[in-house]
Amino acid sequence: MELIKPGTKIQFTKYRHVAVALSSLVNLTVLIFLFIHGPNLGVDFAGGTLVQLKLQDHVAIPDVRSALGSLATGDTVIQDFGQQGFNEFLVRMEKPSVEIGTLGEQIRANLSKRFGEKGFEIRRVESVGPKVGEELRQKGMWSVIGATAMMGVYIWLRFELRFGLGAIVSLIHDALVTIGALMLAHYEFDLTIVAALLTIVGYSVNDTVIVCDRIRENMRKIKRESLESIINTSINETLSRTIITVSTAIMVLVALFFLGSAVIRPFAFALLVGFFSGVYSTIFIASPVILLWETKKRK
């Protein structure tokens, strides 16, 4: 079976202006939103308390709120969680448990008044103080930035500086697209999202490596043609490989997204978006950067 017929010659670089314009627009929008609205920070980064509840019988969110009584203040967010029909809820409070004191005990007391002692279960409590949240936020941001830079340096050392630059630009693109998609889907940013972003950075650079490797090989073999044509040939030659490797990753991610734990769902979502974006950015972002560098040098 062959997905891409041998000898396929799509002139990818022809579309580079459209692609770069489109991607710049998308990235700019994400950046603007990040600055105006900021990402939805989970308790890991914003501090606060998250309680996952499972109720025996079906109840509506307002019922849960009223059962919590005085514990559910204005800043308390209650939402459905997990699969439908499981009666699971996430209760998010802005205060960390250190300020509320024995939060778990209070929740238990209030809920058992309404639902009975056996009618509910506190499945998870996560509480992060503001100091830790700030620290994790800083560390998370810098680790993603550091990893991106490191990938660029690695490609630079293994190939050439322009390839490294191309890789960095396309990785920034992937990270921003993923962040934008997460914001659009209303997922909260927490530690697993940082893990996802780092994985995306490490994995989507793979496509860039493969294409760069082929460009280098073809540059030695085919001396007469222009760089643009060499890039196109290289992308075409590696296209089926690129699509297949990402497809297998997508298969397991789809399984994780639909069948895995609800806690892991935002993580799987981020990886799905990031991996797709990685393929696109290698073809339409990294290559133009390499090309741009080359044409500039000639002038």
């Binding site: 079976m1 041998p6 960390p96 448990s97 250190v98 238990r108 279960e121 506190i122 499945r123 998870r124 409590v125 996560e126 509480s127 992060v128 103080g129 100091k131 830790v132 998370g140 680790s143 990893a147 490191m150 990938m151 690695y154 293994r158 530690l191 697993t192 940082v194 893990a195 780092l198 994985t199 950075v201 490490g202 994995y203 650079v205 793979n206 490596v209 490797d213 590696t238 089926s240 490989r241 297949i244 490797t245 497809s247 297998t248 990753a249 997508i250 298969m251 397991v252 991610l253 789809v254 399984a255 994780l256 639909f258 069948l259 895995g260 734990s261 806690v263 892991i264 993580f267 990886l271």
Partner: protein
């Protein structure tokens, strides 16, 4: 057969057997393993993280500055006493944060400096000012001294908390220092996290103070307590009669007569009828003497038993109490009394602690997560295996076999490292399955290309591996690097993901390249390979 093929086959077979042996303890419980196994072969297994088996993960911050302030306060009192004893009059000693401010008539400067040099040598003058016959001194500890005090406060807290947890009874807890002033605590499988938190987080500073019955409580609340007095509130136990006790106010004399440092043991005793249990304190000989002196000299006065600034009880001293026994009552439930006894036995924390981070997972959520993880693993890898088979046929089957060995090696290495498997770690194993075939895809695509150029099967394989290898190494190095960064950054569960990612990358390279190459070499050696199913 070629020698190198034979050697590699033997090596690979040994690796598989070793991997299987390492995996047995993970899937067979330790008690069911025969004794000859446990005495010779490894019993290390993959451990479940707190997010999968349930439990509490806590990070406590020790408020070390408070410990230093307490220490300076004591020194201040000692200094004031020393000055009185030497007859230096007109001097005032105050604590300013972690420094001591000393004001005295300039005339007695020499005598005073003598006192300072003697017992208070660890304090140095950081500021000296003389005006109008009065000298002002600011005394401070050296940076090094402060650091060692901080360290001591954290280490002491750690020790005390370890004692409390040991007595509370948690199997295999982790208690360790993190960074400058944090303590990491992990309590796997704990049933009642709230209670554990109470026990761990209580400062448990026990003080005996006199109640001032001559002062009016209302006045003291409204206008502030008279000098040398303070207002403290009662403690509300959960047992009978405890409700509302926190509203009872007491005016007590500020000086502490005795603290909990003299406690040798603390036990729960059943109370008389209709009264809840109480906690009996057994004092060490020094404490017993001190307690006897205090009670003998103050019969008929009320003695407040104060724990963390809450008055538990304030009985009237009926007579001199010898024998070093005291009791704390306070409308306790049995559980409360038991917890209090644990805390008192383990001693007070040198400084208050604050919960900076808490992550608690109930056991049922953990087993749900494992179940969902297994399902997504099976479905995800079936999809990949099927796809490879359809797309690459024979070569796909080879890649699938490599994938199965990869999973085997990955789990075996995790077991031999006694690695902790977390929820993101399971996600990592699932994800790695999707990535593991990448190397095979690279090789297969390249072999196809070489075949199209008209090369023989043998030459195509040779060229395919040779050209694909640099790219395979580069791609895996980049993913591995990001895994290392993630490990540096991550906390518990995320670290689990980073570990599976990094180990998985290593095993994929071994199985996808080494194992498939071995098969092709074997076929070539047996001269069977004229056509490749790819």
């Amino acid at each position: 057969m070629q020698r190198s093929v034979l050697i590699r086959t033997i090596l690979f077979s040994i690796a598989i057997v070793v991997a299987l042996i390492y995996l047995v303890p993970t899937f067979v419980s330790k008690d069911k393993l025969p004794s000859w196994w446990t005495s010779v072969l490894p019993t290390d297994q993959i451990n479940l993280g707190l997010d999968l088996q349930g439990g509490s993960h806590l990070i406590l911050t020790v408020k070390v500055d408070k410990a230093i302030e307490n220490n300076v306060e004591r020194v201040k009192e000692d200094l004031a006493k020393a000055l009185r004893e030497r007859g230096i009059s007109g001097a005032s000693v105050e604590r300013q944060g972690t420094q001591i401010e000393l004001k005295f008539p300039a005339a007695s400067a020499e005598q005073l400096r003598g006192v300072l040099k003697g017992d208070f040598g660890n304090f140095t003058e950081v500021k000296t000012q003389t005006s109008g016959g009065t000298t002002e001194l600011l005394l401070s500890m050296s940076k090094q001294e402060l650091k060692s005090l901080r360290d001591y406060a954290v280490d002491q807290s750690l020790e005390t908390i370890r004692n409390r947890i040991d007595q509370f009874g948690v199997s295999e807890p982790t208690i360790q220092r993190e960074g400058q002033e944090d303590i990491l605590i992990q309590l796997p499988g704990i049933q009642d996290p709230e209670r554990a938190k109470e026990i761990i987080g209580k400062t448990a500073l026990l003080e005996f103070k006199f109640v001032d019955d001559t002062a009016s409580v209302e006045d003291a609340i409204r206008n502030g307590p008279p000098p040398g007095r303070q207002v403290l509130y009662g403690h509300a136990g959960k047992g009978e009669g405890g409700i509302g006790a926190e509203k009872t106010a007491y005016v007590v004399e500020s000086p502490t007569l005795m603290t909990g440092e003299y406690i040798a043991d603390a036990r729960v005793r059943p109370g008389a009828q209709l009264q809840g249990p109480y906690v009996e304190l057994i004092l060490n000989p020094g404490g017993a003497r001190l307690f006897e002196q205090i009670t003998a000299a103050n019969v008929r006065r009320r003695l407040a038993i104060v724990l963390d600034n809450r008055v538990y009880s304030a009985p009237v001293i009926q007579e001199r109490i010898g024998g070093g026994r005291a009791s704390i009552t306070g409308s306790f439930t049995i559980e409360e009394a038991r917890d209090l006894a644990i805390i008192l036995r383990a001693g007070a924390l040198p400084a208050p602690v604050e919960i900076a981070e808490e992550r608690t997972v109930g056991p049922s959520l953990g087993s749900d997560s494992i179940h969902q993880g297994v399902v997504s693993f099976i479905v995800g890898s079936s999809l990949v295996i099927l796809f490879m088979l359809i797309y690459y046929k024979g070569a796909g089957l080879l890649a699938d076999l490599a994938l199965i060995f990869h999973v085997l090696f990955l789990l075996a290495i995790l077991a031999s490292f006694k690695a902790v498997l977390t929820l993101p770690g399971i996600a990592g194993i699932v994800l790695i399955v999707g990535m593991a075939v990448d190397a095979n895809v690279l090789i297969n695509e390249r072999i196809r290309e070489e075949l199209r150029l008209g090369k023989s099967a043998r030459a195509a394989i040779e060229a395919g591996f040779q050209h694909a290898l640099p790219a395979i190494i580069d791609t895996n190095v980049t993913t591995f690097l990001s895994g290392v960064i993630l490990y540096q950054f991550g906390t518990g569960p995320i670290k689990g993901f980073a570990v599976t990612l990094c180990i998985g990358i290593l095993t994929t390279v071994v199985t996808a390249v080494f194992m498939t190459r071995l098969y092709y070499d074997y076929s070539i050696a047996r001269r069977r390979l004229t056509q490749i199913s790819i």
